[in-house]
């Protein structure tokens, strides 16, 4: 059980983010939920890549580093792009929220539904 404990904590973090998306009425809280869930996914990928006693995936000119002693570099590359995409989508969500605030004068999504028309 102990070998999977970081994965389980990471899943709990993801669940908190999704819970915020499902249950909150304030649109900023929903954006924060998206951000938290995104962090949890990135963390999960890097957790899967970790090797006990491994080194980071950078060779050196002056000392000999065995390729077998490195952590898995492939999820790091995937997460690197995923982080920047996450920031771009967060900025897009913020722009939508500002626009909705300008139209309805509130961040409450239930009021937005009532005011439609």
């Amino acid at each position: 059980m102990n070998a999977y404990m970081p994965y389980i904590l990471c899943m709990i973090l993801f669940s908190i983010g999704i819970y915020a998306i499902l249950s909150k009425r304030n649109i900023i809280k929903i954006i924060l939920g998206v951000v938290i869930a995104e962090y949890a996914v990135n963390l999960m990928l890097v957790l899967v890549a970790y090797k006990v006693g491994g080194r980071s995936a950078i060779f050196s000119e002056t000392q000999v580093i065995l390729p077998e002693s490195m952590v898995d570099p492939l999820p790091h590359a995937l997460v690197l792009t995923s982080i920047v995409i996450g920031l771009a989508t967060t900025a897009f969500l913020i722009a939508l929220a500002i626009r909705l605030y300008g139209k309805y004068g509130t961040f409450d999504i239930t009021r937005m539904r009532e005011l439609r028309g």
Binding site: I58, E61, T81, I83, V84, A88, A91, A95, I98
Partner: protein, 151 residues
């Protein structure tokens, strides 16, 4: 510009920003150019350069960085980064395939000038990411100023 309508933060923040913004830019450029040797690369370096301009904007109030780098020029720089990245990718077609590393010739790994087209691609990515994020930031700020003028 009178004292009451002076946008931005206090004189302490302005002085510290004036001293550090060049260092932040330099650090971003270092991160980009050493992307194939040390941790970092185009993504992190581009965001750091965007942060230097954001720092100017936040400390001095919206209009300072627009003198250096307007909203239209962010679009131009971002497109320049994209075109540079795609040009490098397409030039590889001549030598073997899309994204072929055509400048690489087994030479001196670990030096600053090595690894073929990877440093050039890092520069292209950093232009794209930095200009894109700074464009987003400028857009949000410009609209905010606009709303407060309406009230």
């Amino acid at each position: 510009m009178s004292k009451e309508h002076d946008p931005g933060m206090t004189v302490i923040v302005k002085t510290v920003t004036r001293l550090t913004v060049g260092l932040i830019l330099l650090y971003g450029i270092y991160i980009i150019l050493h992307g194939h040797l040390t941790p970092g690369g185009g993504f992190a370096g581009g965001v750091i350069i965007a942060l230097a301009f954001i720092n100017l904007d936040l400390a001095f109030g919206g209009s300072v960085s627009a003198r250096i780098f307007s909203k239209a020029s962010t679009g131009v720089v971002e497109a320049l980064g994209a075109v540079m990245f795609l040009t490098l990718a397409l030039l590889g077609m001549k030598y073997g395939g899309f994204f072929d590393n055509f400048l690489y010739n087994d030479g001196n790994p670990g030096q600053l000038v090595s690894a073929g087209i990877i440093p050039l691609e890092n520069i292209a990515i950093s232009l794209k990411v930095g200009a894109g994020l700074f464009g987003i930031f400028l857009t949000l700020i410009i609209l905010q100023k606009f709303e407060s003028e309406k009230k």
